[in-house]
Symmetry: C3
Subunit: 134 residues, 3 copies
């Protein structure tokens, strides 16, 4: 399979990292098919949202509203709120597929591929990109 691990570094705060460029680079020249963006972490997800107009920061805020850090989680090791990080991937899944035509993702004008990482304790992150040719 045409597949690749991409390593990157996130900071000590919760982050929504735009990885559209990395995925676009991976599919360039590969023809038609689907690209799967897969995150092999138990405390992160992948989303397709607009970036650069406030919604990426809004997403981090609303995550804290939807999955409150101070909820009575059983899973409690690490930083405060780490229990919430561990249920996040059920709601923002770590796997998404995007159509590709002639080596270009068929995203809408305002869609970006975003790595959603609420976890402050692990700044070393990986994404696996895989291409299935049609």
């Amino acid at each position: 399979m045409d597949t690749e691990l991409i390593q990157f570094h996130t900071g000590s705060e919760t982050e929504a990292v735009d990885i559209t460029g990395e995925v676009a680079g991976f599919v360039a020249g590969k023809g038609d098919g689907i690209v799967q963006v897969f995150c092999p972490h138990a405390t992160a997800g992948v989303a397709l949202i607009e970036t650069g107009a406030g919604s990426d920061a809004d997403l981090l805020d609303i995550i804290d509203h939807v999955l409150p850090p101070d909820f009575a989680y059983r899973h409690r090791h690490g930083s405060p709120g780490h229990g919430a990080d561990h249920v996040l991937p059920a709601f923002i899944a770590p796997s998404i597929t995007i159509p590709v035509i002639d080596g270009r993702m068929q995203l809408g004008t305002w869609q970006s591929v975003v790595f959603v990482d609420p976890n402050r304790d692990n700044p070393n992150r990986t994404i696996r990109l895989s291409f299935l040719r049609a």
Copy 2:
């Protein structure tokens, strides 16, 4: 790739549009594989839920509960609550794959493919359907 854009019109209210028939028509006669339903919009998602028994309307109501329109969003252009529309695709993703055998989606009895569109400001909507043969 066997792929097609389907255009449709949503109204001026939030909507959960059943597009099962459109997807079924697209895969008919195509054999075995998976169909990817992809929405190239930054304010909509795709869900597999029961329709016609209240749950489609329930979904629109619970979206307003989970992602409150009056939350302090940074992204504020357009109608009230538009900030919420922009975080929705992180929770209800705009991409889903469904297994297809002998040209028929292998949905459960009560599953329908639903285009979830909270955005009142853009009634012109598109779905991209793509088929990957097994």
Copy 3:
């Protein structure tokens, strides 16, 4: 298509059932590609989360927080809270794809495949596993 239905039994309580072993068994020996885990039910989802350290139980609790059983659902047949079960698949989708290399899922260390079943009224459950070779 290389596809298979797996039947299993869930109990009379809400459950997060670890099905990693079943999926691993299905892809073993199949080479490179993606496996699609698809749930043909309107009241269940599939998630990739850590199990065995509390987060699976946390997930069931937080689902009741995010999608309250006592919300004013139109869909009301069955057990109390069944209306919530029917909107769950919009947030925890019943379909996910996982990369496979040399017959092994490329999950992260802490990721398990979990069948999320809040429905107490239907203990007979099915998952469809499908493999797309790269």
